[in-house]
């Protein structure tokens, strides 16, 4: 399971403030905390409030790379912002994200190729997010074809079937699970699958329980990665346990401890 730490996002008040006041300490603290908690990537999103998002992204990349050697996941809908970040990244980054829309594909995939970056492709287009697994899979196929067209290796393509809050779109959850299964049949090698996990529990009570239950269900469906709260210990314990039950790790009585120390 590839875990992308979600916490360095301007949507969180402390991070938003740090970006606005150019204060590196909260950012670096979250970078180190998430790395210690077992993150494989760190998501960077300057949030909607950043005055100059290009400058903010460059600063975020530099600030995080000063204390962490983890690869970064550059998260923005503005591709100039992502490009500015890619120019600073010391390790191949993950572009978060690109929908199945031709102009955006034409902007993102050549950029990914140029920087050797990986891409998260979203199963949505101009019309929005379809409900059923068939339509989601069809959009995933468009993105797979785009990766092939622009020469981005399929191992570097991550498909996000877009999980929505369960209190908004409860009927989407099973469709997302089915999409995760089907995406694996689209190509050889298949693309990876990833979800923005915390989305499933937006504005609910029992957020952690919903997150970890969905995580385990998605892992059973073949999920490869998640952008999530890696500092949620119960979530990490669930991931470790699911890995054991899916025969991805060899069981030992101390498996939880070993999973936490795996870096």
């Amino acid at each position: 399971m590839i875990l992308v730490g979600e916490r360095i996002n301007g949507m969180f008040r402390d991070v938003g403030r740090a970006i606005a006041s150019v204060d590196p300490h909260p950012i670096q603290e979250w970078a180190q905390r998430q790395e210690a908690a077992g993150a494989d990537y760190l998501d960077l999103n300057c949030g909607p409030a950043a005055e100059d998002p290009i400058k903010a992204m460059r600063w975020l990349v530099d600030t995080v790379q000063a204390v962490s050697s983890l690869p970064l996941c550059l998260d923005s809908t503005n591709y100039d912002v992502i490009e500015a970040g890619l120019e600073r990244c010391k390790r191949p980054a993950l572009i978060n994200s690109c929908p199945a829309e031709r102009p955006k594909i034409e902007r993102v995939f050549p950029m990914a190729k140029r920087f050797g970056a990986k891409v998260i492709g979203l199963t949505m287009d101009k019309k929005g997010i379809p409900k059923d697994a068939d339509s989601r899979t069809a959009l995933a196929m468009e993105i797979v074809a785009a990766a092939d067209e622009f020469g981005v290796p399929l191992e570097d393509l991550w498909i996000d079937p877009l999980i929505l809050p369960v209190n908004v779109a409860q009927d989407h959850v099973v469709e997302v699970l089915e999409t995760i299964r089907r995406v694996k049949t689209l190509s050889s090698p298949p693309p990876k699958t990833v979800v923005g996990l915390s989305n499933v529990s937006q504005k609910t009570v029992n957020r952690s329980l919903l997150d970890r239950t969905f995580m385990v269900m998605a892992m059973a469906a073949g999920l490869d990665g998640a952008i999530c709260n890696v500092c949620d210990e119960e979530l990490m314990n669930s991931v470790a346990t699911a890995r054991i039950l899916l025969n991805q790790d060899v069981y030992a009585d101390s498996y939880l401890k070993v999973f936490r120390k795996r870096q």
Binding site: D249, V250, Y251, A252, D253, S254, K257, V258, R262
Partner: protein, 322 residues
Amino acid sequence: MAVEVIRDRYTGRVGEVTLGATKDQGGTRIHTVTVGGDSTLPFLQFEGEVPHRPVIALEITDVAPEWSEPLRAELGEVWGDPAAWAKKCVECGADLVSLTLIGADPERQNRSPEDCARTVRDVLSAVGVPLIVRGCGNDEKDNQVLPAVAEAAAGENVALGTAKQDNYKTLTAACMVHKHSIIAQSPIDINICKQLNILISEMNLPLSRILIDPTTASLGFGIEYCFSIMERIRLGALQGDKMLSFPVICNLGYEAWRQKEASAPASEFPGWGEQPARGVLWEAMTAAAVLEAGAHILILRHPAALRLVRRRLDALMVPNPM
């Protein structure tokens, strides 16, 4: 028709363990022995690296053993004289000498920790190869004997065994203090194997000083089960499981020679053929099987078996240029 060679790529590899220490390294060994480091399944040189050749130790005991007749015929003259026996092992081509302190067993001679430590020192003086020292198997007694041995051999980086899930702390501490490597033994159980490695590493013994003894059965007595456990250990290491990424040591002489196929005289089973050749073959075939499963250190008893296994190893170590 051209055959496409499928090569798997792995993220992990088996860790390397070096046994013995030369003068520069604080010991008195003439050379050291390094095993492990593999980045592929056993001997698939076309796919990954097999940087170190598996090695063969010959077993000796501190007091004369009750081993079967073909072993007595070959080695009996040096039984009871561990230093002379160790020298003979090296003359026969052993990469290491493995000393089992059977005399410490309370049900045998009940030798004292001091006597056992003296035997270890005698053997260290007699030969220049790295040493493996294993206790008598009685946990309580081993916990007295092995720390004394560790101290007597301080700095020599001996492989000391055996640690078990319910008895590992004393030996781990002795290995830490006196700079030795540990043999972590599990009863043909990959989960206990991993757990024991975790427990030992939590005591901060460096990972480069842990050997896995997965417990081996002889040919004909459950070797298939051992084979698949060893395979899973190797696959775990290759998939990046650090707590399974240790070289594997197999105590084969003991297993092979205690079976009647190896130890029964021809008079008892006339159809089975002459005993010496049969016993040697039983031991060598058991060794050949566990090599394919991923063993790095083999403990054998009969010099003729060593020669056979060495020939097999020569062939296996020729890189396949596929």
